[in-house]
């Protein structure tokens, strides 16, 4: 039991993940994030920009890391994204939540399901039953074991990326990874 310095993703990217971009991309960017975290909202704008620019070359993955004590709305918002995912609309809800980060009360979430054209009754049932709680907790724990130490935390091709994540810097890091 000695010191560990390299933080590697201990949960490989699989079909259970929410992915954007080609599965056979040479570079995979995994983000652990929290829907109520203001830094994650900034990161979301960066992700949207990069998703637009690099969508042929990079596979983007999002996993939940709700800091529940710090952000009381983060857990249910994560479950809402998972409930939308069960109806095939993960990224739509994901983007919508970050674009409405200041309104994450339960009635807001139900309203977003309606706005996005989801089956609202089914969505409401999923949240009421806590159907996606376990999934969110699995993401949270495998993130912790992989060395997630804040939100957002990024992994490029399975190794934690500790650099700046403004769009130009992160883009350069992804392009470096493409060349390797």
């Amino acid at each position: 039991m000695s010191q560990t310095s390299v933080n590697d993703l201990n949960q490989p990217v699989t079909e259970r993940d929410h992915t954007y971009g080609p599965a056979d991309a040479s570079v995979t960017l995994v983000e652990y994030g929290d829907y109520e975290c203001p830094y994650c909202e900034q990161a979301h704008r960066v992700m949207k920009e990069l998703r637009g620019e690099l969508n042929d070359e990079v596979q983007f993955v999002f996993r939940n890391f709700p800091l529940r004590q710090m952000h009381p709305h983060a857990e249910l918002a994560a479950e809402a994204a998972e409930a939308a995912s069960a109806q095939g609309a993960f990224w739509e809800m994901h983007d919508h939540l970050y674009e409405h980060q200041d309104a994450l009360e339960r009635e807001d979430l139900d309203g977003y399901a309606a706005e996005l054209g989801l089956d609202e009754d089914e969505f409401v049932r999923a949240l009421n039953e806590g159907r996606h709680e376990e999934r969110v907790q699995q993401d949270f724990l495998n993130g912790a074991h992989s060395g997630v130490n804040a939100t957002p935390t990024f992994f490029i091709n399975g190794t934690r990326y500790d650099g700046q994540w403004d769009a130009p810097t992160l883009r350069a890091a992804l392009e470096d990874a493409m060349r390797q």
Binding site: Q3, L67, Q69, A144, S146, N149
Partner: protein
């Protein structure tokens, strides 16, 4: 810190400057201590024999990163409880600072004030830094018998995360995990 550096400009980004001490290594008996946690309460380490203890030394309340680190641990209290483990945060700040910091960050675990004599416990664990006059960002997992089973010193500017603690708790003999 250069002599003309203004107060508040302590360099937290170059932890490799001087490692004057060696942190206590696995197999060492954890030095006992009693430290105040609130203006009228104190914690004695040896009272926690029989369960694992996590000691998280950090440089200062309110400084960048620390808040994140303690905030992160605050999210894992139920996982630590699964191992019957007790977490303490320790810095050289006094109880009133800890009190305000805990309230501000909504922390649900005790912060101990290694305040008088300043840094005495950090020194005993080999994780005191003379120049800024604070503890390192150092983690210890102590088993139910009071023996250090894992220690880790992180670069002061880097939040060490929670994976090392969880792995160390996982590796404790199972009768201690309960």
């Amino acid at each position: 810190m250069t002599p003309d550096a203004a107060e508040g400009e302590i360099d937290y980004t170059h932890p490799e400057l001087e490692a004057e001490q060696t942190p206590l290594q696995p197999g060492t008996e954890a030095p006992d201590f009693t430290l105040p946690t609130t203006p009228d309460q104190a914690v004695t380490l040896s009272n926690f024999r029989g369960q694992p203890v996590i000691l998280a030394f950090y440089p200062a309340d309110w400084s960048p990163v620390c808040g994140d680190q303690m905030g992160l641990y605050n999210e894992f209290l139920s996982e630590f409880r699964d191992y019957n483990a007790q977490l303490f945060g320790l810095s050289v700040d006094g109880v009133w600072s800890h009190d305000a910091f805990e309230a501000d960050r909504n922390l649900h675990f005790p912060l101990l004030a290694d305040f008088e004599p300043k840094g005495e416990v950090a020194r005993a664990y080999g994780v005191y830094r003379d120049e800024p006059g604070t503890a390192e960002r150092a983690l210890f997992v102590i088993d139910a018998e009071g023996v250090v089973q894992w220690s880790y010193v992180s670069p002061v500017g880097v939040n060490p995360g929670v994976d090392g603690i969880l792995d160390a708790l996982e590796e404790l003999p199972s009768e201690e995990n309960q």
